[in-house]
C-alpha cells in the first residue's frame, strides 16, 4: 500500500504496476543458495537437509520482499502463496519417494528364490534363510475368497441402488454404505472375531480373515460400482425397453456390460486396498509359520502379518525378511493399481 513509488513505476501507466521480469525467481534462488553457502561456511553448520531448509526459507523471504518493494503487497502475497503450494506439493511427494525408495533398497537384500519358495517353518528368527511362501499363499487365498464373496454381493447392491430403489430405503442404504467406508479395519476384525471365532467357535482360519476383509471391501465395491452404473446413459436403457426387453435382461445384457470396465477398476482398487490390511487379519487369521493351503481350517499366514511379525523380532535377519515382504506387498499393490488405472483409461463408459 505505502510502498515507495520508485522510478520504474512512475515511468509506466498508473494502471499497470511494475512487474518483476521473468528471470527474477532464478536470480533470487541463486542469491539464496549463495547466502546459505556463506552461512554454512561461516557458522560451520552441516547436513544437506538443513541446507535445503535454510535456502528455501531464505528464498521465500527474499522473493517476498523483492516483490513487495517492486510490485506491491498484493503481488508479493500472490508469489508467496504460489511458492508455498509448490512446497506443499514437494512435501507430499517426498514421503512417497522416500517410502518406495527405502523399501526397494532394503527389500532387495532378501529378494531371492529362497524367499519365494520357503516358509518360516523350523526357521529360527535369527537365521538368515526362511521365506514368505506361506504368507504369499495365505494372502492370495484370503483376498481371493473375500473378492469372491464381496463382488457379486456388492454389484447386486449397487444394481439395486441405481436401477430398482425408489424413495427412502435406497437413500438410507446408500448413506450407510458411505458411513461403512470409514469403518476402521480393526473394528471389522473385532466384529468377525466376536461373531465367528468366539461366539460360533469356528476357530481362527483364513476364511475368518476373508470375512473381515469382505466387510472392508463391500462398501468400496458398492460405491465405485454405483458411480459406474450411474454413468451408463439413460438412452441405452430406453432403447432396450423400446425393443420390449424386460428390465432384468436390460440390466444384465445392456447396463452391466457397458459399465464393466469401470466396475473392474473399482474392484481392483478395492482388492489392492484390502491386500495391505494387517489389523483384521491379525485378529482373525492369527498367523502361522508353516504352510497351510487350506483357508477353511487352522491359522494361516498373510503377507502384511508376516511383515508385522518379523519387525517385532529384534534380529537383523528378521528385519531383512520384513523389508522383502514389504517390497513384495508394495509390488503387488502397485501392480494392481496400475492395471486398474490402465483399464479405466482405455475402456471408459462411452455414451
Amino acid at each position: 500500500m505505502t510502498t515507495t513509488v520508485d522510478d520504474l513505476s512512475l515511468a509506466r501507466s498508473s494502471l499497470a504496476r511494475a512487474k518483476l521480469p521473468w528471470w527474477s525467481p532464478v536470480v533470487v534462488a541463486v542469491g539464496a543458495l549463495l547466502v546459505t553457502a556463506l552461512i554454512f561456511l561461516g557458522a560451520s553448520l552441516h547436513g544437506y537437509v538443513s541446507f535445503i531448509l535454510i535456502a528455501a526459507v531464505l528464498y521465500l523471504l527474499a522473493q517476498t520482499f523483492v516483490s513487495l518493494a517492486v510490485e506491491g503487497w498484493r503481488h508479493a502475497k500472490n508469489r508467496l502463496m504460489t511458492s508455498l503450494m509448490i512446497v506443499a506439493m514437494v512435501l507430499a511427494v517426498l514421503p512417497l519417494v522416500g517410502v518406495l525408495g527405502y523399501t526397494i533398497a532394503q527389500g532387495l537384500g532378501r529378494f531371492d528364490s529362497v524367499f519365494f519358495t520357503h516358509s518360516m517353518r523350523a526357521v529360527a528368527e535369527s537365521d538368515p534363510n526362511g521365506g514368505a511362501y506361506h504368507a504369499i499363499i495365505g494372502t492370495l487365498e484370503q483376498v481371493g475368497l473375500a473378492t469372491l464373496i464381496s463382488v457379486p454381493f456388492g454389484v447386486m447392491v449397487a444394481v439395486y441402488l441405481v436401477e430398482y430403489s425408489v424413495g427412502r430405503f435406497g437413500r438410507v442404504v446408500s448413506f450407510f454404505v458411505d458411513v461403512m467406508t470409514g469403518l476402521p479395519s480393526i473394528v471389522a476384525g473385532l466384529f468377525i472375531l466376536a461373531l465367528w471365532v468366539l461366539l460360533l467357535h469356528q476357530g481362527f482360519s483364513g476364511f475368518a480373515g476373508s470375512l473381515a476383509l469382505t466387510i472392508l471391501m463391500l462398501p468400496t465395491v458398492v460405491r465405485s460400482c454405483e458411480e459406474m452404473l450411474k454413468l451408463v446413459p439413460v438412452s441405452l436403457r430406453e432403447a432396450s425397453y423400446a425393443l420390449g426387453v424386460a428390465k432384468w435382461l436390460t440390466v444384465v445384457r445392456i447396463v452391466l456390460p457397458t459399465a464393466l470396465p469401470g466396475i473392474v477398476t473399482g474392484v481392483m482398487l478395492a482388492v489392492a486396498r484390502v491386500m495391505g490390511e494387517t489389523a483384521p487379519v491379525l485378529l482373525t487369521v492369527f498367523g502361522n509359520s508353516a504352510i497351510n493351503t487350506n483357508p477353511f481350517s487352522g491359522p494361516q499366514a498373510s503377507l502384511p502379518l508376516f511383515v508385522f511379525n518379523e519387525v517385532g523380532q529384534s534380529f537383523d535377519n528378521a528385519i531383512h525378511r520384513a523389508w522383502s515382504g514389504a517390497l513384495v506387498l508394495i509390488l503387488i499393490v502397485l501392480l494392481l493399481n496400475l492395471i486398474a488405472r490402465t483399464v479405466a483409461r482405455f475402456a471408459r463408459v462411452r455414451g
Binding site: M85, A92, L96, F176, V179, G182, P184, V187, L195, V311
Partner: protein
C-alpha cells in the same frame, strides 16, 4: 452396522463387569493381573496423535489440492494427482515399517531442535532428553496417510468451482491468490471440512502403523517428543498376542467398541456435511 455394535457389546460386557477400575478413567491395562484396565490414556493418545496428524497434514493436503487443480498445467496435473493417489495405495504396514525404522531415528534431530528452542512450550518439553518412538513420529506417519484422502476430496471440490466465479474475480483485477481466496476456497469450504473429518476418521482407526511406531505406555503425557504413548487401535494389535483369557479379550473388544463409537460419530458427521453441501450446490 447394528450387528457390529451388537456383537461387540455382547463380548465386551462380561469383561467390563469384571473390571476393578473405572473403564473410562483408569490408566493401566492389566485385565488378568490386577483386573484394572481403562481406556482413558488410550483415548487421549488416539485423539492427540490424530489431531497432530491433521495439523501437519491438512495444510499440505489443501496446498496440494490447490496446486493440482489451479496452478499446474494439465499435462503435469494428471500425473501429480496419480502420484498422490498412489500414496493412498501403499499398505499401512509399509508405512509402519518405514516410520519405525527410517523415520523415527531421522526425526531425532528435529525433536532436539524443537526441544532446545521451543522447550518452554509444554508440548515440546522433554522429561529426560530421550527421543525416538514418540507421538510426534506417529503423527507424522499418520499425516502422510491422511494426506492423500484430504487432497483427493478437496481437489474434486476445487475443480467444481464455477468458472464464472473464477473469471469474475480475475476480471476485477484479482491476483491468482486473491481469486482462490474469494472464489475457490469459499465454494469448497464444506467439501474441505468433510474431507478433514474423513481424514480424522482414518487417522483414529489406523492400527498397524501406529502399533509399529509407538512403544506403548499407559500414561497421559503432554510432552509429544517423549517416547511412548498409545492409541486404542494400536493397543488392540499389541496386546492381542497375549490376550488369551476371556476377560482380556473382552477388554480389548470393549476398547474397540469405544473406537467404533468415535469413528461412527465422526463419519456420520462428515457424511451429513457432504450431503448438505451437495443439496446446496
Amino acid at each position: 452396522m447394528a450387528a457390529v455394535a451388537a456383537f461387540l457389546i455382547l463380548k465386551a460386557v462380561p469383561a467390563l463387569s469384571a473390571n476393578k477400575g473405572n473403564f473410562f478413567t483408569a490408566f493401566g491395562w492389566d485385565p488378568e493381573g490386577t483386573g484394572i484396565f481403562g481406556v482413558a490414556a488410550l483415548a487421549f493418545g488416539t485423539l492427540v496423535s490424530s489431531l497432530l496428524a491433521l495439523i501437519i497434514g491438512v495444510p499440505v493436503a489443501v496446498g496440494v489440492a490447490l496446486f493440482i487443480s489451479q496452478y499446474a498445467p494439465r499435462a503435469i496435473a494428471r500425473p501429480l494427482a496419480y502420484v498422490v493417489d498412489l500414496l493412498a495405495a501403499v499398505p499401512s504396514v509399509v508405512f509402519g515399517l518405514w516410520g519405525a525404522i527410517y523415520l523415527s531415528p531421522n526425526l531425532i534431530p528435529l525433536s532436539k531442535f524443537l526441544n532446545r528452542y521451543f522447550g518452554w512450550i509444554p508440548i515440546f518439553g522433554s522429561t529426560n532428553q530421550t527421543y525416538g518412538k514418540s507421538i510426534l513420529v506417529a503423527a507424522v506417519v499418520l499425516a502422510v496417510m491422511v494426506l492423500p484422502i484430504v487432497a483427493a476430496i478437496s481437489r474434486e471440490v476445487f475443480v467444481q468451482t464455477p468458472k464464472e466465479h473464477m473469471e469474475g474475480a480475475l476480471a476485477l483485477g484479482a491476483t491468482k491468490w486473491e481469486m482462490i481466496r474469494t472464489a475457490v476456497l469459499p465454494y469448497g469450504r464444506s467439501g474441505v471440512v468433510s474431507a478433514i473429518v474423513l481424514g480424522f476418521g482414518r487417522a483414529v482407526g489406523e492400527t498397524i502403523a501406529v502399533a509399529m511406531v509407538l512403544s506403548s505406555t499407559y500414561t497421559i503425557n503432554w510432552h509429544f517428543l517423549d517416547p511412548g504413548g498409545n492409541t486404542i487401535a494400536a493397543n488392540i494389535a499389541n496386546r492381542w498376542g497375549d490376550a488369551t483369557g476371556a476377560v482380556s479379550q473382552g477388554a480389548l473388544i470393549a476398547s474397540g467398541l469405544v473406537l467404533f463409537a468415535i469413528t461412527l460419530v465422526v463419519n456420520f458427521g462428515a457424511r451429513v456435511i457432504i450431503r448438505r453441501g451437495k443439496a446446496k450446490a
